[in-house]
């Protein structure tokens, strides 16, 4: 199973390099085939969980490794530190509060609402936050995926429409809202966009990890 996961993921990378179809995104590709495989052959999920644990083990070190891009981009960030931190702070607040309230209004259960709170953040961080605040990591994974795909599809069109045209602002907005997928999209346009998107992604990850439990505490009377 572990081997199958790795092989499918590698195949997804290969197919994406040939054709940039969203279905070939290695994550979507591997997930779709693994789920069908388990369902069709009626293999219980527990058989897969073992492989999942091996992969999970590397999740945390990979977040620690995000210190590297943050360090490498630091000179660029330093000049813009104030606007970046402020806009990220606002983006983070709006992201968590809006998704929680919207989910409440559309009738979601408490567990679902908690799982949605970190949806704008890069997956590994989002999963960690989800566990911390008492959400269901799988639901979080789905929401992160939706935010990523949707944001990378319409992000730039929407930003240009709303006259937010500064490349730096665009890059940061993409990274803040749509994490790695927004960053990849920004990277396609230029390295500079990409660098700022990755800064947005990392900062928002850290900020949300710190703020989400606090915000959720405040919002608790409204959700339960």
């Amino acid at each position: 199973m572990l081997f199958l996961t790795l092989a499918l993921y590698a195949m997804g990378i290969y197919l994406t390099s040939k054709k940039k179809w969203i279905i070939f995104n290695p994550i979507i590709f591997a997930t779709a085939i693994l789920i069908s495989y388990l369902l069709v052959l009626e293999i219980p999920y527990d058989n897969y969980a073992q492989a999942g644990r091996y992969i999970d083990f590397f999740l945390q070190p990979s977040i620690v490794a995000l210190a590297i891009p943050l360090y490498l981009q630091w000179d660029k960030i330093k000049k813009q530190l104030f606007p970046i931190v402020c806009s990220q702070f606002i983006g983070c607040l709006v992201g968590v509060i809006s998704v929680v309230l919207l989910a409440k209004w559309t009738g979601a259960d408490r567990e679902i609402i908690l799982s949605l709170a970190p949806k704008s953040v890069s997956t590994p961080i989002a999963l960690e936050i989800s566990k911390t605040v008492g959400g269901i990591p799988s639901i979080t994974a789905a929401a992160v995926m939706i935010a990523g795909i949707f944001g990378s599809m319409i992000g730039f069109k929407f930003l240009n429409m709303s006259r937010i045209t500064n490349p730096m602002s665009q890059g940061i907005a993409m990274g803040t809202s749509s994490h790695a997928m927004g960053t990849m999209k920004a990277m396609e346009i230029s390295e500079k966009y990409g660098a700022f998107a990755s800064v947005g992604m990392i900062f928002n990850g850290i900020l949300t990890a710190i703020l989400a439990p606090i915000i959720l505490n405040f919002l608790m009377p409204y959700i339960s």
Partner: protein, 114 residues
Amino acid sequence: MNLIKQVAIVIGCLAFGELVVYLTAVKLPASIIGLILLWILLKVEWVKVESISGITDFLLKNMGIFFVPPCVAMLNYFGLLSASIVPIIVATLVSTILVIFVTGLSHQILRKKK
């Protein structure tokens, strides 16, 4: 630097994070504290980027795979997921647009002010 040492640095930062969480019961993932510690170590130049790039490049390039097991685990939550599919999608989509707009706009305004 050899691979063992590289792994030791990254895992060491993570272990420090775990320790902080354990001692202070702070509601923060240990990995985020590890990230901040590693960044500080790089900043004060106790650790050089090149000396750990072997392991970190590998981790960063293949980050997406950590996503696969939780996605597959959605299997267990099909019921819950399909019961709340409307709130999940509506809330996520609308909130994503809001974040893009608010973050981009506030950065653009603040940047000009300076």
